[in-house]
């Protein structure tokens, strides 16, 4: 029997009748996931149904075949507890903690069943190390700069970090509940505010899912405009991150120049959509704003200028030996950790993984216009910075091409109401990595549940592991090189 026979299969941005998803006993569900994971499939999502968080409940898994471009779905029969997947599949660790926190379904044998977003209210203890000259450093939730809140607890021996525990949850606003139960005409605004620097990617995932549930497709022009704003969002953030990294190592000329260039792309989003973060640009069925001829000329000029500026400033930054020596071999994440934890996005590609939703599960314009995947294999801060620098250049080339060859037609089309009893999955490669929205509709077409997985959810643990054996003074630099979202994780 093939390992995929217990699964229903769809492609990114498709919906299926919920009844088509095989419901199997929990033992079979568990072993089928492990078999598929052993065959290089990645756990995109693991969640449980039910609104009120009382067991029993049924589990649902989505596994991605990144080579075949398919998504495999299976559901378990209702359970109140089950043998945890985490000891055999580390990718499941945070999903299982989330399931236990939200539903009370207990993954027996989970090594660290701490709540994800409620640990503060419940006053759950931190992992702590005992021994001579071992000391503990606590930082946060409020940090020294303008940054979102989170708590970091280090177990150190002198300068060396033995263990870092990252406690999040401070940003929990109840986004999924609002998406599920809030007024339907608010959903898009909530999706855009899950993580403000990724507003376009989350809005796209939300819209793609809504369109899949309604069985409609946006026009080619709308798809092109979406890809344009997504790449502008990527450019603003990648270039901003390079500036932040240079700030943290005290190389201030690059901070100033990258910081100013980041503004050029935020302003480009404002020229197109009226908002520096692209909020209000997308809507189910298409986009709210089209490009005028004047805007196209203006954008192409900015792109050409930015290609030159990025090369100059990037050349100055990466050409400085003291910069390279500070970035190399700092905060290294191995390829094995990447595969074990199922990392996504820049962090995964910096360890050599060939993983990019735009290539693996192409959607919208990326089905027709390909964008090369950038990979480095050293897994350190240098690799994460260099991947950003190279990806920014690829995005500029893509952008110039897309703006130059904008398809004719309307930028928007009507989007019908979601059909009943359907489930849809939408993946979008945001600048941090894979943004995933999954929802299931009930008998009246309203959401039974709505799940959001920001790339940060997969990647936070990698930051904790990157610090092990390193110096505590490297933490700010490592943190910047990941630049994960607190709000996207906490929802």
């Amino acid at each position: 029997m093939s390992p995929t026979s217990r699964f229903a299969s769809i492609r990114n941005g498709e919906a299926l009748d919920f009844s088509k998803i095989p419901v199997v006993p929990i033992e079979d569900f568990r072993s089928a996931i492990l078999k598929l994971a052993a065959a290089n499939h990645r756990l995109c999502a693991l969640l449980c149904d039910g609104k009120d968080g009382r067991p029993p409940g049924s589990l649902l898994a989505v596994l991605a075949d990144d080579i075949g471009g398919k998504l495999f779905l299976a559901a378990s029969q209702p359970v109140t507890s089950y043998p945890s997947l985490t000891p055999d599949l580390a990718q499941a660790h945070l999903f299982e903690r989330e399931i236990y926190e939200g539903s009370g379904i207990r993954p027996d044998g989970h090594p660290w069943l701490k709540p994800v977003r409620r640990a503060l209210a419940d006053k759950v203890a931190f992992f702590s190390e005992q021994g001579d000259e071992v000391h503990e450093v606590a930082v946060g939730p409020i940090h020294a700069g303008i940054i979102e809140p989170g708590h970091f607890r280090f177990q150190c021996h002198g300068e060396m970090v033995h263990h870092l525990e990252i406690q999040l949850g401070y940003q929990h606003r109840g986004a999924e509940r609002l998406l599920r139960e809030g007024p339907p005409h608010r959903s898009l605004a909530v999706a855009e505010s899950i993580c403000g620097d990724t507003a376009v990617a989350h809005a796209w995932a939300h819209c793609a899912m809504r369109e899949a549930l309604a069985g409609v497709s946006p026009t080619l022009r709308a798809e092109a405009l979406r890809a344009i704003v997504l790449e502008v969002e990527r450019l603003a953030n990648h270039i901003g991150d390079l500036g932040a990294i240079s700030n943290d190592i005290g190389f201030l000329p690059a901070t100033a120049y990258f910081g100013r260039m980041r503004g050029d792309f935020l302003n480009m989003l404002m020229t197109i959509s009226g908002n520096r973060y692209g909020k209000g640009m997308l809507r189910p069925g298409g986009v709210a704003f089209d490009l005028t001829a004047g805007m196209r000329t203006e954008i192409l000029e900015t792109i050409n200028r930015s290609i030159r500026h990025l090369r100059e400033v990037g050349g100055m930054f990466f050409g400085e030996p003291s910069v390279i020596s500070r970035l190399e071999d700092t905060g290294t994440v191995s390829r094995k950790i990447c595969d074990d934890l199922g990392l996504v996005g820049v962090c995964a590609r910096a360890t050599g993984a060939d993983r990019d939703v735009r290539q693996d599960h192409p959607y919208g314009l990326y089905r027709f216009r390909h964008i090369p995947v950038v990979r480095l294999d050293s897994g350190d801060v240098f690799a994460r910075a260099m991947v950003r620098f190279l990806e920014a250049q690829r995005s500029l080339e893509f952008l110039g091409d897309a703006v130059d060859h904008l398809p004719e037609g309307s930028a928007t089309s009507p989007c019908a109401a979601p059909a009943a009893n359907r489930l849809a999955v939408a993946l979008v490669e945001g600048w941090r990595g894979e943004v995933c929205h999954i929802a299931k509709t009930g008998r009246d077409g309203s959401y039974d549940w709505y799940k959001v997985i920001d790339p940060s959810f997969h990647n936070w643990m990698a930051l904790a592991l990157a610090l092990r054996g390193g110096e505590i003074s490297d933490f700010p630099l490592c943190n910047k090189s990941f630049n994960l979202s607190y709000a996207g994780h906490d929802l």
Binding site: G145, Y170, R173, G174, A189, G196, D197, R260, M316
Partner: protein, 267 residues
Amino acid sequence: MIEIIKNRIKQGYRTSKFPDEDPGLPERFRGRPVIKPELCAAGCTACIDACPTTAIEKGKKGPLALDLGRCLFCTECTTACPDGAVTFTKDHRLAANSRENLLVTGTEVKLAQSLGDEMRRLFGRSLKLRQVSAGGCSACEAELTALSNVVFDLGRFGIQFVASPRHADGLVITGPVTRNMSEALRIAYEAVPPPRLVIAVGACGISGGPFIGSEDHLGGAASVVPVDLFIPGCPPHPVTILDGLLRFLGRLKEDRVRGHDRSVVPG
């Protein structure tokens, strides 16, 4: 080293001329909304029904009132209105001293008043602020960070974001104030030596914004601490924040910004 110097020369001088000159915002920028109730058809509720955050209501004074504190500056109301009664202008000035002054009922503007003489003497030329994100999505935080870049260069006005609340004259709060952050926010506020200022930035920080109705937050900064200045937006443009701060400190002697309706009614 020679590369660094060459780059420095190429980069040139990039600081914005604002507030001495118009900020030059693009055509589609959505600033202060205006309502023209005389254009409303009788019994029409299209904008009220379309607004995602119930920012528009039938007001007591006029037929319609738009609460800038809840407004996301999306285009749902302007798209829904068949008569053009709600429109966004390019006016970036939005900050106000009280929630009531954030209510837009027509074309009249009630902008923030400056601090009293004693507070201006203390903070007018040097204001240190501590930023606390309490559930912010990072868009408002990013715009506050942008204020310190070479374009907006907040430091030239004597305003600076500092690392500790004990070094600060006030807090800048973003986010709807999640339950999980409320205690930390209270502690940070207590740590700021009085007299202290509180500035709420963004729709979330003022009202809960897109998250209004969720039980996981308290509905904005004013639910925990007294707020002296409200700066609306989702997120507010850096120029809007800068305008609010300078107005508050009495640093904008006259309304130098050209190209807008200049009718300013004291708030």
